[in-house]
């Protein structure tokens, strides 16, 4: 039930979001450490939230790596949104986005 923890994460973003209104930093950092996972958050200026869950035992991923992963994810997401055929709110069905995410996952694992 990783999704359930995501739900908690979401709340954390909103809690942090208030403090971060003025700042340009989109990366929210470690949001919610649990015993087994670390949850990182990222929120765009239009309040689109990205959440990444990393296995706690994965020590290779430092803050900076996570941050750059989020940046990549964000730019790819922006590309998807720019697609005139994409209907905001739909499930993302972009091959480019998928392959980007997959490559990121491969790189991490």
């Amino acid at each position: 039930m990783v999704h359930t923890s995501l739900d908690v994460v979401d709340e954390k973003i909103s809690a942090m979001g208030k403090a971060l209104v003025d700042q340009r930093e989109l990366y929210l950092g470690l949001l919610y450490p649990t015993e087994d996972h670390k949850v990182y958050g990222y929120v765009t200026n239009s309040k689109v939230k990205f959440v990444m869950v990393v296995d706690s035992s994965n020590t290779a991923l430092r803050d900076n790596e996570i941050r750059s992963m989020f940046r990549k994810l964000h730019s790819s997401y922006t590309d998807v949104m720019c697609n005139p055929f994409y209907n905001p709110g739909d499930r993302i069905q972009s091959r480019a986005f998928d392959s980007m995410v997959t490559s990121m996952m491969v790189q991490v694992c």
């Binding site: 039930m1 999704h3 359930t4 923890s5 995501l6 739900d7 908690v8 979401d10 709340e11 954390k12 809690a15 450490p33 649990t34 015993e35 706690s56 035992s57 020590t59 709110g89």
Partner: protein, 1228 residues
């Protein structure tokens, strides 16, 4: 000569630690000074400059003064810093040279030698001067001498190592001054010593650290060394620096563990990998946990011991720094990382031991924080501690599950063993918490002791965690804890308590659209509802789960089977219906009517096809699918007619229903779209723009508070409508995915039927779609039979055969064989019967059904058309040819040169101005078989021609001209033009001057016919003529029926010429031509051509002695302004009524232009006296003089035929005058 303090135990690590300063020399003297000294020393801060670029700090120095002993001096290699004497002071108050030489000097030398032996360079010699003592000695040396001696003897080059303190116990300015100087010196020396010694120590420590890659290196040894430094900083109240030391140790250790995980193991780590045997949690109540420290020192500590000790130190320092919240945060991190590290190092830990440790630690940290903060502070910082609370809750929960404390039966023997083992690992309770009732140790022990106690503690913790989460706004976290709690309740078999939490969690997941948590929670809820026996809710949740794609096929089938088995179980039971919303069972995708426009006549068959996407994983046999239909009688009759049917066609009759919005957050989708409008407000005075903006018109919709009470999954009271009209379909098996279901119905009553509810029943379970949206309707109409008659072409032309189309719309009437239409003929209209009339029967949807021969029987008055047999709601179409007899409009009035016709009122002719055709209406009354009333149909025929006539004169010879104008679009052939005189006077002869051959008259063209009128005797005053001409359409060669000729009757009156008017203009005498501007004479001669005739007998005629005369008025008018008439332009003359009687009038005219000018008009009127009795008395001239309007009454136009102007058309040459510079014209 005792030391101010008792010799201390070798090491005391308390916060009372102070840097050690040794005292040698005169102990009595020191004892007397000590109180002042220890009081004065920390009074003023000193700036401490640090090495390695660390920021300088102001510190208040305190010292622990101890008696100098050689043992105190550190031996070579001893790294202990706390026991390190930082400064050595020698006290003396010797003022006597003798004494100095005898004892003090030796003593000092010995002292200094010891120091040198230990290479200690931090020393100070204090010489106390006392005035009182000085006075006692007479042979006193200058006081400086002793000091100088000492300086000479001991302080070579370092004269500042010797300090003089004067009269320390007195209260004088001198004393104060010397104290200050001494203290400053003391502080400076101390700091210098710190800097030097600590610097050296740090260097050593670093060297040690750099050796860490060497095999024999031990973390514990290093730990002890660095901690020593931390202790010193702590001693100096430099908690930040102390904390840094511990953090460095922490990071170093963590890095080792990580490296170990990566395969880069260090030997010393192996003993940290020993199995964990004790898990008694963090101990934070003591500043230093000596027990653990000893373990570390002995290198016997486990990982948990090391971590615990490290954290307890960090915690202590953080609390000194007033940062309790950091403690909480670090604690959570520590606990997580400890668990991870144990995993990483593959340390064997008994199950549950870690949970115990974490639980105890959480509570210990929380209690420690609570112990140093007040309530308000804690409440406002719940956000920091709530994580620990929920962590503790989680751990207690897992302990409970592990030890069988959550089950209904309680722990079994295995569980009990485990509990005993776990409790053993806790060890005995620590003495410092033994007296506290709520110590974490006691709590855990109690919780593990019995099921009830566990429940109490767990509920306490859970509720506290939920409450805290809620209070800091982390509702989602609270939901998660709530879900755990629900699970706990389910285990405890109290589902009613669990339900609230599950519903709450589900509600928030649904509102935010988290699909997986929704599924998971629903699964739990389904179980809960099953236990509670909430059949309806359970079935609904089951159906939702059965249609949930996030579940596995097996699970979905299971839930589907649950519904089906319930349904089959209840079939024979009581007729209790269970109503569930349809959307969780199937989704109505589209609906399609046949006929596609959803309009059907009474008795017609309507079929409705729906596509229902079943969400179930297996085929489901549905006993009945029904659509409730709401019936309303349509007020607007027009909708029910066939015209409406054809006009309002929907795209293809398919109504698509929007897909469900379940996967997305419902809250956002339900919001209506923004309706924004521009707004401009202009100032009323100058129309300039005042304000502009955007108005949202549906603010009330958008800002409406979301109704929190409406749960998304309540059974939602789906009301079953018991409509009388139901479309049904029985025994349908719904396969997973789209299914096509067809409903058939026969339309009964006319009206509008609205589809309301869709309802599928499986046994007693009814799946109901409460509202069909968008609105779906079908109409049933009933239509009266109708007959419609329309000309085939744009308009009907009279005189030639024309086709008329008959359309019979049968409506609800069925046309039987033998039914016929009876047409009562109008007089002037013929219905032409042909042998091969055909009728075509169409169905309601304009499809050709059949083509039959039509029988038409015609008698004198009635034409009977026998209709072919046709079913209801069909159309029969056929054509008939009709012929309107051409009418003969007769002119009643006098003919005129302009030739306007005055149509007679014999027919209902209407003559419109311009080129419109005259029309004739014919009414046909038709008897229809379905009605007792006759239908009267008016057919309007247009006369294609317009005829005018005119009388032409040439002197006394007369001609009649007839003009036939074709107004229609068709071309015609005209033949046999003939003019007949109805007056039957044989004397009169009409001589045609026309061609004999047929003439073509094209559309919009005219043909003229002329006859000369010849007479032998005196002609009659009026002449009635009849013109007739045969015509036929030019295009058609042979016509089936003989056509009647076109006739035109008119009357010509007063056609006989009575007067001849002749005008002549003569140039002035002596000139050949008229000139402009010069007067010419106009001679008008009026000649009577005949004797008294019948037509002359009127009021103007006067008779005097058989001599008849009549009064005429002439008038010269020049409308084209060519001439200026000078003098009288008109006059009345008395004309004798006798042949060849001539009247001449002379007048002057002046040409205004040069060229050939037409002569001015001379008009002749019959002058009727106002009153015949007075007429003779009146002077004609006086009448003319009073040229008033009343004169008009007495003038009468002579009919144009009676006057012939013989000079009409003549022109006269006018040449321009030579002097045309001034032309003055005056016309009276």
């Amino acid at each position: 000569m005792d030391a101010p303090e008792e010799p201390q135990p070798p090491v005391i690590y308390t916060m009372e630690n102070k840097p050690i300063v040794t005292c040698a020399g005169d102990q009595n003297l020191f004892t007397s000074i000590y109180p002042t000294l220890s009081q004065q020393l920390p009074r003023e801060p000193m700036e401490w400059r640090r090495s390695y670029g660390r920021a300088p700090k102001m510190i208040h120095l305190e010292s622990n003064f101890v008696q100098f002993k050689e043992e105190l001096l550190p031996k070579e290699g001893n790294k202990a810093l706390l026991t390190f004497p930082f400064l050595h002071i020698y006290w003396t108050e010797c003022c006597d040279t003798e004494v100095y030489k005898a004892t003090v000097k030796d003593d000092l030398t010995k002292w200094q030698n010891i120091l040198k032996a230990h290479s200690s360079v931090d020393w100070l010699i204090v010489v106390v001067e006392n005035d009182a003592k000085k006075k006692n000695k007479t042979n006193i040396l200058p006081r400086t001498s002793i000091v100088d001696k000492i300086r000479n003897d001991f302080c070579n080059k370092q004269s500042d190592r010797c300090v003089v303190l004067s009269d320390p116990l007195k209260d004088s300015s001198r004393t104060q001054e010397s104290w200050n100087a001494f203290l400053t010196k003391l502080r400076t020396s101390l700091l210098m010593s710190f800097t030097k010694n600590l610097g050296k120590f740090e260097d050593d420590m670093r060297t040690l650290r750099e050796k860490r890659t060497e095999p024999g290196w031990s973390f514990c040894d290093y730990f002890m060394v660095q901690e020593e430094l931390a202790f010193v900083f702590e001693m100096l109240q430099q908690f930040e620096d102390a904390l840094v030391q511990y953090d460095e140790l922490d990071a170093l250790f963590s890095q080792y563990v990580v490296n170990f995980g990566a395969g880069d193991g260090a030997n010393w780590l192996t003993f940290f990998c020993e199995p964990v045997r004790s898990w008694n949690g963090l101990i934070l109540r003591k500043p230093i946990d000596m027990e653990k420290r000893a373990l570390i020192q002995r290198q016997e500590a486990t990982l948990l011991d090391l971590r615990s000790y490290l954290f307890s130190r960090q915690c202590t320092l953080l609390l000194f720094l007033q940062r309790p919240w950091e403690v909480a945060q670090r604690a959570l991190e520590l606990l997580h990382s400890c668990v991870q590290e144990l995993k990483l190092l593959e340390v064997s830990v008994p199950p549950g031991a870690l949970d115990c440790w974490v639980f105890l630690s959480c509570l210990e940290v929380l209690q420690r924080i609570e112990g140093c903060c007040d309530r308000a502070q804690i409440d406002s910082n719940v956000a920091h501690t709530v994580g620990l609370w929920s962590y503790a809750t989680e751990k207690l929960k897992s302990l409970g599950y592990l030890c069988g404390l959550v089950s209904e039966e309680g722990p079994n023997s295995e569980d009990l063993n485990r509990i005993v083992d776990l409790l053993a690992g806790l060890g005995a309770e620590r003495p410092e918490t033994a007296n506290t009732a709520q110590s974490p140790y006691k709590k855990l022990k109690e919780a593990l002791s019995s099921v009830e106690a566990f429940e109490k503690h767990y509920l306490d913790l859970s509720h506290a965690a939920i409450e805290m989460h809620t209070s800091v706004g982390r509702t989602r976290s609270a939901r998660l804890v709530g879900k755990d709690l629900a699970e706990f309740y389910m285990r405890k078999k109290s589902p009613q308590k669990a339900e609230i939490y599950l519903q709450g969690a589900l509600k928030s997941y649904l509102a935010e659209g988290w699909a997986l948590p929704i599924t998971h929670t629903r699964k739990q809820l389904a179980e809960c509802q099953k236990h509670l026996g909430q059949t309806e809710n359970y079935l609904q949740t089951s159906s939702l789960l059965a249609s949930d794609h996030h579940l596995t096929e097996e699970e979905r089938k299971h839930f589907c089977q649950e519904i089906l088995s319930f349904a089959s179980r209840q079939t024979d039971g009581t007729g209790q219906k269970i109503v569930l919303p349809l959307h969780c069972f199937a989704h109505l995708r589209d609906l399609h009517f046949t006929p596609s426009n959803a309009v059907v006549h009474v008795g017609g068959v309507l079929s409705v096809d729906i596509t229902l996407c079943s969400q179930m994983p297996i085929p489901v046999r549905v006993e009945q699918i029904a659509i409730n239909v709401h019936f309303s009688i349509e007020k607007n009759n027009y909708r029910k007619t066939a015209e409406w049917l054809t006009k309002h066609k929907t795209a293809n009759g398919v109504i698509t229903f929007p897909a469900e919005t379940s996967p997305l957050p419902a809250a956002q989708n339900n919001l209506p779209a923004l309706e924004l409008y521009e707004m401009f407000e202009r100032s009323p005075s100058d129309h300039s723009l005042n304000t502009t903006g955007i108005i949202c018109k549906n603010v009330h919709m958008l800002l409406r508070r979301q109704e929190s009470s409406t749960s998304l999954e309540t059974p939602s009271g789906v009301a079953l409508e018991d409509g009388a009209h139901v479309l049904k379909c029985s025994d349908v098996t719904l396969e997973p995915g789209p299914n096509r279901i067809t409903f058939r119905t026969q339309a009964k009553e006319p009206g509008t039927y609205t589809l309301r509810q869709l309802c599928a029943s499986v046994g007693p379970v009814w799946f109901v779609l409460p509202h069909l949206y968008p609105l779906v309707q079908y109409d049933v109409y009933s239509q009266e039979p109708q007959l419609h008659v329309a000309p085939l072409a744009d308009g009907l032309l009279a005189g030639i055969p024309q086709k008329v189309k008959f359309t019979v719309t049968t409506g609800h009437y069925t046309v039987k064989n033998g039914d016929s239409l009876q047409l009562s003929n109008a007089e002037a209209m013929l219905i032409l019967c042909h042998a091969e009339n055909r009728a075509v029967i169409y169905s309601n949807t304009r499809e050709k059904a059949s083509d039959v021969l039509l029988r038409v029987q015609s008698s004198d008055r009635v034409t009977s058309v026998s209709l072919p047999a046709a079913p209801a709601y069909h159309m029969i179409e056929f054509e008939l040819e009709v012929l309107s007899l051409p009418s003969a409009p007769v002119t009643g009035g006098e003919s005129s040169t302009l030739g306007t016709t005055e149509p007679h009122r014999k027919h209902k002719d209407t003559h419109r101005a311009g080129h419109c055709m005259a029309t004739t209406d014919h009414k046909v009354s038709i008897d229809c078989p379905w009605s007792i009333y006759s239908t009267v149909i008016a057919l309007t025929f247009s006369v294609p021609f317009r005829t005018t006539h005119s009388l032409l004169s040439a002197g006394t010879r007369k001609y009649i001209q007839v003009c036939v104008q074709n107004l229609s679009e068709l071309d015609f052939q005209l033949s046999d033009g003939d003019l007949v005189d109805h007056g039957c006077s044989a004397d009169l002869q009409l001589v045609p001057l026309n061609a004999k051959c047929p003439q073509a008259i094209h559309s919009k063209q005219s043909v003229f016919f002329v006859w000369e009128l010849l007479w032998a005797r005196e002609p009659p005053p009026s002449l009635r003529c009849c013109f007739s001409v045969g015509f036929s359409p030019a295009s058609e060669g042979q016509l089936s029926v003989p056509l009647k000729p076109y006739t035109y009757e008119f009357q010509v009156e007063n056609f006989f010429t009575l007067y001849n008017v002749k005008a002549e203009i003569l140039p002035p005498s002596g000139t050949e031509h008229c000139r402009t501007g010069s007067l010419c004479s106009l001679e008008v001669s009026i000649t009577r051509l005949s004797d008294l005739l019948e037509v002359d007998k009127d009021e103007a005629l006067t008779e005097t002695d058989e001599y008849f005369s009549t009064k005429l008025m002439y008038e010269v008018v020049d409308n084209s302004s060519n001439w200026a008439v000078c003098g009288k332009s008109s006059g009345v003359i008395s004309m004798p009524v006798a042949a060849q009687a001539t009247h001449r009038v002379h007048m002057e005219v002046m040409p205004l232009f040069a060229g050939y000018l037409p002569l001015p008009d001379v008009r002749l009127f019959k002058y009727l006296p106002h009153h015949s009795a007075h007429s003779s008395q009146l002077d004609a001239d006086s009448w003319i003089e009073s040229d008033s309007l009343s004169l008009d009454k007495h003038l009468d136009d002579l009919p144009p035929g009676q006057v012939f102007n013989s000079s009409a058309g003549t022109q006269i040459l006018v040449i321009p005058s030579k002097d045309d510079h001034v032309l003055e014209v005056s016309v009276t």
